[in-house]
Subunit: 380 residues, 2 copies
């Protein structure tokens, strides 16, 4: 007997929402940031460390995991939870975005997508039904419909055709998801709003998805090359149209300011490789912008990354030590940097949640943006 | 006021010794294995993890650290303890072995050794006095004399000249170490017995070191190409001649069986990169030999590395997961493998200590060797 998926709206502040998602593997406090665990591991981290950092949920990539190690192996472990030893909620994407980013090597048909595996060139077929079956093997608490990520730029006509294909696929996903019996395990299926930068098409996509019915909605087809203004306009226009009672997930976004801005426009869930990838590359987030640890100025710097930061890294290690680890290519450097960056992101979400509850989000956002923007140059 | 360095012999079993080394940073139970922390980090591990694994002491490499980040930076952190956030004992080597392994790029004179830095080719000079000064900056609890590692093979005459140079350098190290005031911090200086594979020269080296006076002794110039029989003969001959009241350190050794054999011949301390390096390369130690995790047979293997093993990795992850992480080049794979291998080594030392105390070392050693030797082929 597993508890059903649910979403509770706790409070609002302007368009921003403070909520709680219930899943069979525990609650997710929103607005939430989801660390990305592409290959069944959030790079360099153990599940215990992620928990200590305050991650309620992690993301797994269907596309990557179906190629390596293959979803059957993961199913034999009782799903991704057992495979990667993570007991809290997991969201799996559909593989659609990754197939799209392969570009010319893919063939899109009504039935699905055929592509050559990046590793060995073997032919692979992915469709709404295949994606849902793989995601069922992975056992994610939140699963995503398989869609086509519309390229940018695209004409209104191209965008409409792509969006309509995604809608037809969304319906097939809904059917496949239900037939696989996911609801018995309290799992949820999210639809993905497409439609590029065209308000009318976004609205049509949303309308189609509402007709099918889902447990939550994502905004897709963003962060694919459009300008910040175009993205903001889409958000501004579509977020208020999304049902209040469903969680809203902005896929693949973004910088701390991007996330904060999107929260202010009413989005609830976010994922991005930025904190982990930047960490491994020695770019560290601070209150006053990004710090590049391999900069020679840190050679003798006995300060922590950010004085006052309570993360494990800042409590115990100097910038000089982190710079040294980075210079020597030491694994511990990747670990300590990742810990700090994830802590920064997850703390930011926690502060955002408090700001919504306390109704001081505007003031918080203004100050945060100012600090980030004023100081990036001087520190980096 | 720091406590003085000391060594207590708790019990013996044949030539094997169960002891305890006291340092200002805590005790070291012997026989002890010291994980290698070349660049101020035991690769992939945090200090807390090392402590949980049962490491009493780690090793730092003077040669590497004087080049990166330089010993001044480390001194500003209050030494290696503060720099790397490790509060238990540290042993620093002298740099002699690493200079030697540079081979033709070094010039050995009476005064010291000149060599080109591997990274940028810049000229660097290392001598007994320089090594002791750098080691003083690093602040190791146990420091090593700067010696010349005699090449193998070498004629008796070459070996004698090299050994005598090492003795003269050992005397200069003693003087420099004392003048730097290390004793006030409860630090210890170990001599290194050289003399190649020649019993008479080993004895002369030992005699010379005893005359100078140290806190412990190491056996150097082994694991440099000699046969196992030659190494065993050196150990067999020289260990009984070493003072009972000083700890005995066999440098750079070795496999689990090498260590066990050396304990049975009366050695107390060991270091080797094998558990950490093998871990990163996917070679995992088990009771029944070494397991190569990237072997395709583990693709669907739901068992832990070694059933019954109590390490974090074996308690939580399958061979299939570890194989997957290895295949994807994931940092977590290096971490989990290193944890298992270090646990295996440190547990072996713990079991050896119990076997000495309980006077069943011979039986333990026989069984352990048999299991390791019989099964390596079948598992690897």
């Amino acid at each position: 007997m597993t508890s059903a998926f649910g979403f509770e709206l706790l409070s609002t502040s302007g368009a921003a929402r403070r909520g709680r998602i219930q899943t069979a593997h525990g609650d997710i406090e929103t607005p939430a940031f989801m660390p990305v665990g592409t290959y069944g591991t959030v790079k360099a981290m153990t599940p215990e460390e992620l928990e200590q950092l305050g991650a309620d949920i992690v993301l797994g990539n269907t596309f990557h995991l179906m190629l390596r190690p293959g979803s059957e192996v993961i199913r034999e472990h009782g799903g991704l939870h057992g495979f990667m030893h993570w007991q809290r909620p997991i969201l799996t994407d559909s593989g659609g975005f990754q197939v799209w980013s392969l570009g010319s090597r893919t063939q899109v048909r009504e039935e699905g997508v055929e592509f050559n595996a990046p590793k060995d060139g073997s032919k692979i077929f992915l469709s709404p039904e295949v994606s849902m079956e793989v995601q069922c093997h992975l056992g994610g608490d939140i699963q995503m419909v398989f869609d086509e990520c519309t390229r940018y730029p695209a004409t209104p006509k191209e965008t409409q055709q792509s969006m309509e294909l995604s809608l037809r696929w969304a319906r097939r996903c809904r059917t496949a998801f239900d037939e696989l019996g996911n609801s018995n395990d309290g799992r949820a299926l999210f639809g993905i709003v497409q439609g590029g930068v065209y308000p009318k098409l976004r609205a049509d996509s949303l309308g189609g998805l509402l007709e099918i019915g889902f447990d939550g909605l994502a905004l897709g087809g963003l962060s694919v090359g459009e300008t910040r203004e175009e993205r903001d306009a889409v958000l501004e226009h579509i977020a208020p149209e999304m049902p209040v009672e469903w969680p809203r997930y902005l896929m693949g976004v973004g910088t701390p300011i991007d996330i904060l801005d999107a929260v202010c426009r009413g989005m609830d869930m976010f994922d991005c490789v930025m904190p982990t990838r930047h960490g491994r590359n020695g770019y560290l987030f601070t209150e006053t912008g990004t710090l590049r640890i391999r900069n020679a100025r840190f050679r003798n710097d006995l300060e922590p990354i950010q004085p006052g930061c309570e993360c494990y890294t800042c409590r115990n290690y100097s910038r000089a030590y982190l710079r040294h680890l980075d210079e020597c290519g030491e694994i511990l450097g990747s670990r300590l940097n990742t810990i700090h960056n994830l802590y920064f992101y997850l703390q930011l979400m926690s502060r955002i949640r408090s700001a919504i509850e306390g109704e001081f989000l505007d003031a918080f956002a203004r100050q945060f943006r100012q600090q980030q923007e004023n100081s990036t140059v001087s520190v980096a």
